[in-house]
């Protein structure tokens, strides 16, 4: 793990209290990502041969098939790549947040990640600078969120 110590802002998730029904399947491969996120650090796999940054975690680099994949920290900054806005809730946990926006973000030097748009007033536009934050659920689970770039740090 590269030691650059980018700490993300941590905010309380304003939706449902329990993440139990929505929590990802944390495996041998993906555990480092979620463990670091709990500490406020965003990390992805990095190929030792071609340096491609990969998410979701995989046993082999999808670009060059090298099996030597380490972990590298990201700054948390990136640009909005796409977004969608839910006008309907499919889960109780997000019901009180409707309408809410989910972003796809091209991370600086990294892959495209999904996260909730935590801003309540502003709407993102593709290309806008955004920054990652961590949303902490009441049961301690942490998930990725995004705010307007440059704010909150």
């Amino acid at each position: 793990m590269r030691n650059t110590a980018h700490s993300l802002e941590i905010r309380t998730f304003p939706g449902g209290a329990s993440s139990a029904r929505l929590r990802p399947n944390i495996t041998t491969l993906s555990e480092p990502f979620y463990a670091k996120l709990r500490q406020g650090i965003l990390s992805v796999q990095s190929c030792e041969r071609c340096e491609k940054k990969t998410f979701p975690p995989a046993p082999v680099c999808p670009a060059c098939h090298c099996e030597k994949l380490g972990w590298t920290e990201l700054s948390g900054d990136g640009a909005a790549f796409s977004w969608c806005r839910y006008q309907r809730s499919y889960t109780e946990e997000f019901k009180s947040l409707v309408p809410y926006i989910v972003l796809a973000v091209r991370m600086d030097g990294g892959p495209i990640l999904f996260g909730r748009w935590v801003e309540t007033v502003l709407r993102p536009a593709i290309g806008d600078r955004v920054s990652a934050i961590v949303e902490r659920w009441q049961d301690g689970f942490t998930s990725l969120g995004f705010i307007r770039g440059g704010a909150g740090r």
Binding site: G15, S19, R21, L22, R23, P24, N25, T27, L29, S30, P56, P57, P62, F81, S82, W83, C84, R85, Y86, Q87, R88, Y90, T91, F94, L97, Y100, V102, A104, R106, P111, I112, F114, G115, R116, I126, F141, S143, L144, G145
Partner: protein, 395 residues
């Protein structure tokens, strides 16, 4: 990477379905039995002649192959079943063609039957597929429920938004698809949605997950479809004019593929690339010795309306980024240059995973489509955003 020219030619012998909507029967077996009887009657076959079956949607929404065979009294020497996802429709027909070509069976019935009405909304925790959200990485449509990205429509909406941005597409141009397909459904007694819609109805349609509106979404239904595949030789001895499977190519998979979106759009697990579709160079065209210009009727998987654009581009009917313009001005309506999803498609006939499209292909190529019969009906292409395709024709 050639497509498969169906040398030991396979053909569709018969088709049958129950009108799409909400089944009153809480058992699926009676509607499936009706669909099978329709298909047998259509083909002029006896139930005892069916010796192969492929089931697409198994339990809990549908019946699994073993139970299906027991309940329908089918004695089979070839049985198979696929993943319970819509995207396997073309794959099932291809497997049936391969099975008859390799003499695993003489008559393979492809069955797709399920009751969506027995479950909560697709994408919500009570829906049978919800557990797939917790695969090792993401759900099959890029679902990431803990950040709110749930239901197939979420991934489709992200892909559509990126596509509109990347190619400067006016999203309101999608209305041409919804309207054309509804026009087909209005003349189709199987269809679930048959009230007319206009472009202004489309513009007034509420967002479900922006940028996708209600009229961009397929309509969930209960379905029971049976389609019988045999060799072209055997089909020639049956009731109806032969609808041959001319050639096909398989579903694609891998890091560059995403079910809702073009290769290289950057949603799902795929990276953003300078994707140029193979178009007319897709193997199915070479194997069928046809070009996109030779296709009279086009059918594609349309869980959400942008998939029609992406499929037209992937298979060379429109240039990349230009399909939204291409579909305007009646071009895809009955009577237009390339009528598409004339049954109403998943958007208006009902989400049958494409099985309604397959029935329609057969009816159109036979000239049996009644009020929605296309003038030119020698060839039809089934194709999907995710790469599989089947060319049908009389040749």
């Amino acid at each position: 990477m050639p497509g498969v020219a169906s040398q030991n030619r396979a053909a569709i012998a018969g088709v049958g379905a129950v009108a799409f909507g909400r089944f009153e029967s809480t058992s699926l077996a009676p509607p499936v039995n009706i669909a099978l009887n329709h298909a047998l009657e259509d083909a002029g076959l006896l139930r005892t002649q069916v010796d192969g079956m492929i089931v697409q949607i198994g339990s809990p929404r549908g019946l699994d192959f073993d139970e299906m065979a027991q309940l329908l009294g089918l004695r089979l020497r070839f049985a198979s079943q696929t993943w319970s996802h819509g995207r396997f429709c073309g794959t099932v027909v291809q497997q049936a063609a391969m099975a008859v070509a390799h003499k695993l069976a003489d008559y393979v019935v492809c069955v797709c039957a399920y009751r969506n009405s027995a479950f909560p909304r697709h994408g919500s925790p009570g829906f049978p597929g919800f557990g797939e959200n917790f695969r090792e990485t993401r759900g099959p449509h890029a679902e990431t429920p803990h950040v709110g990205l749930v239901a197939p429509i979420g991934g489709a909406a992200l892909a559509a938004q990126r596509y509109f941005h990347r190619y400067a597409v006016d999203p309101l141009k999608l209305s041409a698809i919804s309207v054309a397909q509804r026009n087909g459904a209005m003349q189709n007694s199987l269809a679930a949605l048959r009230t007319p819609i206009s472009k202004s109805d489309y513009a007034a349609s509420p967002y479900v997950v922006e940028p996708l509106r209600l009229l961009d979404c397929s309509i969930p239904v209960d379905a029971a479809v049976a389609l019988i595949v045999t060799t072209s030789e055997r089909a020639a001895d049956l009731n109806k004019s032969v609808v041959n499977i001319l050639a096909f190519q398989g579903m694609h998979a891998g890091p560059d593929e995403f079910v809702f979106g073009q290769n290289g759009l950057g949603i799902g697990q795929s990276e953003e690339t300078d994707y140029v579709p193979a178009g007319a160079a897709e193997p199915v065209f070479r194997a069928a010795q046809l070009s996109p210009r030779d296709i009279d009727l086009f059918y594609c998987y349309d869980g959400f309306s942008p998939q029609v654009l992406w499929t037209l581009e992937r298979f060379g009917f429109a240039k990349i980024g230009e399909a939204a313009d291409w579909v305007q001005d009646g071009r895809i309506e009955l009577g237009g240059q390339l009528p598409l999803n004339t049954n109403g498609g998943n958007l208006s006939e009902g989400h049958t995973n494409g099985w309604g499209h397959m029935i329609e292909i057969v009816r159109q190529l036979r000239g049996e489509a009644g009020p929605r019969q296309a003038a030119r009906h020698k060839t039809a292409l089934w194709a999907t955003t995710f790469g599989d395709a089947i060319a049908f024709g009389h040749a």
